[in-house]
Symmetry: C2
Subunit: 332 residues, 2 copies
Amino acid sequence: MVERALDETGREIELLDLSEVPDDALVIPTAMMGAPTCIVEKLPNGSELVSSFQRLEGHLGKKGFATMPIEAGGMNSMMPLVVGLRLGIPVVDGDGMGRAFPELFHETFHIYGVSGSPLVLTNDHLDTCVIEAHDNFALEWFARGLTIRMGGVGYIAEFPMDGATAKRVSVSGTIGLGLRVGRAIREAREAHRDPFDAISETFASTEYTPAKVIFEGKVTEVNRRTEQGWAMGSVRIAPHADASSDEELFISFQNENIIAKQGDHVLAVVPDLICVLDSDTAEPITTEELRYGQRVKVMAVQVPDIMRTPEALAVWGPRHFGIDMDYQPMAV
Amino acid sequence: MVERALDETGREIELLDLSEVPDDALVIPTAMMGAPTCIVEKLPNGSELVSSFQRLEGHLGKKGFATMPIEAGGMNSMMPLVVGLRLGIPVVDGDGMGRAFPELFHETFHIYGVSGSPLVLTNDHLDTCVIEAHDNFALEWFARGLTIRMGGVGYIAEFPMDGATAKRVSVSGTIGLGLRVGRAIREAREAHRDPFDAISETFASTEYTPAKVIFEGKVTEVNRRTEQGWAMGSVRIAPHADASSDEELFISFQNENIIAKQGDHVLAVVPDLICVLDSDTAEPITTEELRYGQRVKVMAVQVPDIMRTPEALAVWGPRHFGIDMDYQPMAV
């Protein structure tokens, strides 16, 4: 989608550092919302998100200066680039999660006091809905319900804010970080080096550290269902025959991986990152792509301090996902 | 609610005949949406509907000249009167169903080509949603989903239209008809006459005819569940011991009564009215008020020709409600 938008518009992507955004400029984050399992069934054409962005501009009576991602997740890091290209506006290098999470209020924007409303939700028929809710939990509840009735996928513009606010409440530089990680993997592959070493080295110079392989094996079971508008489920990964233990790894997910454990021993839990990657190529395998027989390495990445404050853990710690434990830093 | 609005505003209700509405005036119908079983649990305070009306005015950038009911149903005949009083605007004497029906597209407004969008839905927290859908079926689907997430009740302003359109697509005079039927019942009670005779006589001079008692007995079983946002269920009524047949009457409902039959013999079916009334007082018993042991008479009322055209039956005939039969006029 980004490549097509590059071709069709003849434009280049203008990535803007948060510090470059004028304090009084209107920033409107854009994203896809729903179950990734549904999203992959039908790609959007790109007009849905542009429509949400413009509809929100119309509602606010003000032009948007830039868009930005709400999360540093695969698809939702890319979608704002399409919006930026189609509208000829910059994309702010940062996001509202510092990773990916399944719900709208799992955002630093929310944690640090910004209202997600008004939110515009558009589907592939360009049906639109402008929601104004009294808090971000009600906003998530209503928008999720509509997303389900739209077939599991919607396209949103939300958390409109001025530049000064965006600087205060965003996780900075995550698109650039994604680029650096991707480049490190590509260059390692080209040099026939271990891409996992390259990933750990890249993260070592950032606040996302440590980043290490916590398990290696073969996918033996995937349970996945679309429930309440999310891809819910779990995956079991058996260790290789020569491993020191024959205990399998169990990961449960709600769109994103929530917890990784061997028996009762927790290796990593939200908000730390649990990443399943192809053993050979280090290509990420998102939850909707998990399949029996995949040979994988599982990496855990400790997230920056700002994502592990008491306020942040109250929103996206283990208990929010129904796991009866306090957050514990990943085993290193 | 109407009495309180009368007291608090000091205004009188201004009922306007359709012919009195200027062709270019904006008419915005207002209504409650949801399961009556939920609505009776928590009465609105009236500001929800006013908020929807005003939000839709703001969205359209035009003042509403009047409101009107979308259906000639108990609560939804009354709600626009509250809006009219609170805002000091007239209420058009007519509606969009000529009776009550459970879904938004069960409207003459829809059947004769008006878009229900934009629709504004507000809840008791004054959360609002402006929905613009590509057709009225999608509109119902999205609004129903939101209503469910609002706890089963929402307050809507929809089908905004000009006066010329309202004249073309509305069922005229149904508030006035309701007043005449109510007055006939009250006067019959006061004169110790049979109120059921009074009802039939009142309808005889209208297009809602014939209107007759088709069954008499005692409620022996009520099945009711809130499902998909509606009050779904059925009621069984046993005949009195001295009746000519001991066959019970079975009525199924989706918010409103859909079909009345004895065994396989259909006595009445949508869109004709099936009304359960208290045997002594002729007080109507709506589906959420049905209880074991009630002594009732069931009246059927044949609706006007315009509600039984092929276009109308395609929208609200028996098959729409999952009943595998064509419409048949009530047994007279």
